[in-house]
Symmetry: C2
Subunit: 434 residues, 2 copies
C-alpha cells in the first residue's frame, strides 16, 4: 500500500542478520548498539540459532519495561512475556490451552461480532463453542456489557463459557473502547471467572482526538488488587500493525497475568513443540518496544517517520468516514482506531433476491460486483459476522491519500449505480454470471 | 556451537531486509540479484508485507526447480510446494489435516522408535493414535518392512492407521536409508493406502562414503506411474539443518504430491489462518535452493564455506562413533547422516534400581549425573523412545573437533566411573540427591 518501512527497525534487523555491517559507517550507532545487545542474547550471538521457546531473554525484558511504561508504572514481569510468531500464533496457542471438554462441558469462547475471522477459524479448528456477542453499531460499535450477559446466559445452556475475547481497537470495526467500558468488561469477567484475551495489536493506532488506548491490564490494575491478582488476562501485540506494518517478519508477543503455574508449564511445553518464534521478528519487536531515545542519533528520523505514518493514517481514517457518509445508502461509524472502515451498506431487496438465487450472501454479490466494475477489493461483512439482515464491507484505510480519495469516489459511483440498477423503479437488469 | 553462517545467505537476507544496501559495493552482485528477485515477488517489494500463505511465488518456483534437479529430472510443480515456518510447522499442519475420527476410527500415525519428539507431541496434541515401529539397532538402525507390517497389523485392532512417518536421514539415530529400503516402505504404503510423511530435513547431511540420500519422491517415481500417481507423499525440508543451520529464521518448505484437490483446499485454508511463514526465512530457503552458480562471483566463497561445514561434520561423525566405541559398555552405530549419535549405554542393575527409587528413568539418572559431574548435556534415550530395557542418549556432533574430542574423553571417563560406582563388586555408594 506504499507505506514505507521505519528505517531504524530495518537497520537493526539487517545488522542482526549480517553483523559485518557493524563496521559500516552508514549505520547509526544506536542501531548498532541495539543489534549488539540482541545478538548477545542469542545463542552463539547469532539470529540463526534457536532462541528459547518463549523468546530472547533481553527482548522479553525490553517488552516488560515497555509495557510498564505504557501503563504508567503498572508492574510487568518478563516471566509473563512470551514472544510469538505474529499475534495469531499467540492467540491460537492460548486458545488451544484453554479449550477442553465434550458436549455441554465443551469450552465456550465469547467473541465480538463483527470479529476478525482468526477467532472463528481457531474456534472451529479446536472444536470449541463460538459464543457471539454483538457490538452496538448504533453506538460506534461500542461493547455493551448487557449484551455480554445475554450471550453468556444463553450459551451456558449448552457449553461452558470460559474465555472472553476482545479486540481493542476493533478489527474490523475500528472502535476504541472507553475506560469505563473496559472496567465493565473486566468486572463481568471477574464475576463469571472468564479468561480474558485482549487483542490489542492496534494499540498504537488511535486517531480520534476524543479517544485513547487503555490497556486491559492497566484498567485491571486500577480496579484494585482483588481484580489485579485474580483475573486471568492475556494481551497480544504484533509487529504487523502500529506504525511499522511489518507483517512479513511474523513478530509479536503476549503478556499473560494470573496464569496458574501448572498451566504455564503446559503453555511452555506447547510453545516448545514449535521450537521458537523467528528471531528476526523478535528483533523487530524489540525495536518497537525500545525505540531511539531523544539523546540518540536516530531519534529525529525515527520520530519523523513514525509521526508521518500515524498522521497519514489519522487523515485517511477521517477522509474515509467523511466520503462514505456522503453516499446515500452507506453509513459509516467513525474510524476511531485500527486500520479499517466497516460501513453498513443498503442492498436493495432485488439484489438480495438475486444473490440468494446465485447461492451467495448479498454482500458477497455486492463486493464481487464492485471488484468486477472498479477493480476495488473489499471484504464482505458476512466474513466477519453481522446482525441478520444488515450488510457491510471492510476496507482498509491504508492506500495513499490520493489513491484513497479516487478509490472512495469510484466506490461512491459504483454504489449509486448499484442502487439504481436494483431499484424497484427500474426494469430488471441482466444478471451477474453464475 | 561455533558453526559460522554461510556468508552469501546472510548477505541476501540482509539485502532483502534493508534494500538501501543494494547501493553498497561491499555486497556481491549475485547476492543483490537474488535479493532483487525475491523482493520483486513480495507485496510492495518488501519483506515486511505478508506473502501468500503458501509462500512467495518465485521462491516456490526455485524450490520446484531445485527438487527437480536434486531428483535428476523427476518433475516437480510449484503448486505442490508450500513454504513453512520451519519443518515442524509443516509436519504439524499436515498431521492436523490427516487426523480424524473417534475410538476405533481414530487416525493412527506410524512413527519410528526412536523418534524425534515433535511427532509424539503432535500426535498427543491432536489426539491421534501413536503407532510405534522399531528401528533395527543391530542393523545400523535400518527400517525393516516386516516391523512395519507387525506394527500396522497390531494397530489395526484399535485404530485406523492412515499415516506413515519416516525420518531419513534419521533423528536421533543418524542412519541413512538405502534405496531398496525406501522402495519396500513405499510399496507397503501403497498396499495399505497410507499417507507418507518423509521428514527429509537432513538430506544434505550424509557423511558415510557408502551411503547416499535418496528422496522418497524420486524412488516413488522410479517405481513407475502406478505408484507415482497414487501414493500421497509429503516431504519436508528446512533452513535449520544441512550446511546452513539457520534455525532462528524458521524457514522451510514441504512438497506434497497426489493430494486430493479438496484436501488441498482445506490445507490452504489451514495455512491461511496463520497468514504466512516469515518472509526472511523464505528468503533464506531460497538461497539454499538457488545457491551461487559456478559463473557467479560468490561461487568460490560459498562452496568453500559449505564444504568446510559438511567436511567438519563428516569428520566429527566419524570421531564420535570411534571414541564412543572404545568405551566399555557403550555401543554406537555409525553416524551415517544427520547431526547426532545415539549410542546404547549399559546401565548397571544397581543404577537402574536407584533410578526407579528416585522415580526417574535410568537413562535420565545417567544423563543428570553426566551433566552434574562434567557439565555435558545430552538427552536421555527415553525422550525419543527405545526398546524396553535398553538405554541410550542423544548427543549432537556439532561442537568444534577440539571441543568434541575433549567432550568425548570426559564422557568416557564419566562412564567408566559410573560403571565402577554401580558395579556389584563395590560397596554401595552415596545416593544421588532426590
Amino acid at each position: 500500500m506504499g507505506q514505507r518501512p521505519i528505517t531504524f527497525l530495518r537497520q537493526v534487523v539487517a545488522l542482526c542478520t549480517f553483523p559485518e555491517l557493524m563496521d559500516s559507517p552508514s549505520f547509526p550507532e544506536d542501531a548498532k548498539w541495539r543489534a549488539r545487545r540482541i545478538l548477545q542474547g542469542c545463542g552463539g550471538q547469532s539470529v540463526g540459532a534457536y532462541s528459547a521457546s518463549d523468546g530472547v531473554q533481553c527482548i522479553r525484558e525490553d517488552i516488560a519495561a515497555y509495557v510498564e511504561q505504557r501503563d504508567q508504572g503498572v508492574p510487568a514481569n518478563r516471566d509473563n512475556v512470551f514472544l510469538t510468531t505474529g499475534a495469531s500464533d499467540g492467540i491460537m496457542t492460548v486458545l488451544k490451552l484453554l479449550v477442553s471438554g465434550e458436549g455441554r462441558n465443551r469450552t465456550g469462547v465469547m467473541i465480538p461480532i463483527p470479529q476478525y475471522p482468526l477467532y472463528s477459524a481457531a474456534i472451529a479448528e479446536l472444536g470449541a463453542v463460538q459464543i457471539n456477542y454483538y457490538l452496538d453499531e448504533d453506538n460506534c460499535w461500542a461493547l455493551d456489557v448487557n449484551e455480554l450477559h445475554r450471550a453468556y446466559q444463553a450459551a451456558k445452556q449448552h457449553c461452558q463459557p470460559r474465555v472472553l475475547c476482545i479486540i481493542n481497537p476493533g478489527n474490523p470495526t475500528g472502535q476504541v473502547q472507553s475506560k469505563k467500558c473496559i472496567e465493565d468488561v473486566l468486572h463481568f469477567a471477574y464475576e463469571e471467572n472468564l479468561f480474558v484475551m485482549a487483542d490489542e495489536v492496534y494499540q498504537d493506532n488511535v486517531y480520534a482526538p476524543d479517544c485513547q488506548f487503555h490497556s486491559f491490564k492497566k484498567v485491571l490494575y486500577e480496579m484494585g488488587p482483588e481484580y489485579f491478582n485474580s483475573v486471568e488476562l492475556a494481551s497480544f501485540h504484533s509487529t504487523s500493525k502500529g506504525y511499522t506494518g511489518e507483517c512479513g517478519f511474523r513478530g509479536g508477543f503476549m503478556e499473560i497475568v494470573n496464569l496458574d503455574p501448572e498451566v504455564r508449564a503446559q503453555l511452555v511445553k506447547l510453545l516448545s513443540v514449535r521450537l521458537c518464534p523467528p528471531v528476526a521478528g523478535q528483533a523487530a519487536m524489540d525495536v518497537i518496544v525500545n525505540p531511539p531515545r531523544p539523546d540518540e542519533p536516530s531519534f529525529g528520523r525515527f520520530h519523523e517517520e513514525k509521526a508521518a505514518v500515524l498522521g497519514a493514517l489519522a487523515d485517511k481514517a477521517k477522509l474515509t468516514e467523511q466520503i462514505l457518509n456522503t453516499v446515500p445508502g452507506i453509513k459509516c461509524n467513525p474510524v476511531q482506531g485500527a486500520m479499517y472502515a466497516f460501513p453498513q451498506v443498503f442492498i436493495p431487496p432485488k439484489a438480495v433476491e438475486e444473490a440468494k438465487a446465485l447461492g451467495m450472501q448479498p454482500d458477497m454479490l455486492y463486493c464481487l460486483r464492485l471488484l468486477e466494475e472498479t477493480g476495488i477489493c473489499v471484504v464482505p461483512g458476512s466474513g466477519f459476522g453481522q446482525r441478520e439482515g444488515t450488510y457491510h464491507f471492510r476496507m482498509t484505510i491504508l492506500p495513499s491519500p490520493e489513491k484513497l480519495k479516487v478509490l472512495l469516489e469510484k466506490l461512491r459511483d459504483f454504489h449509486i449505480g448499484f442502487l439504481n440498477q436494483y431499484s424497484d423503479l427500474q426494469e430488471p437488469q441482466c444478471r451477474v454470471p453464475a
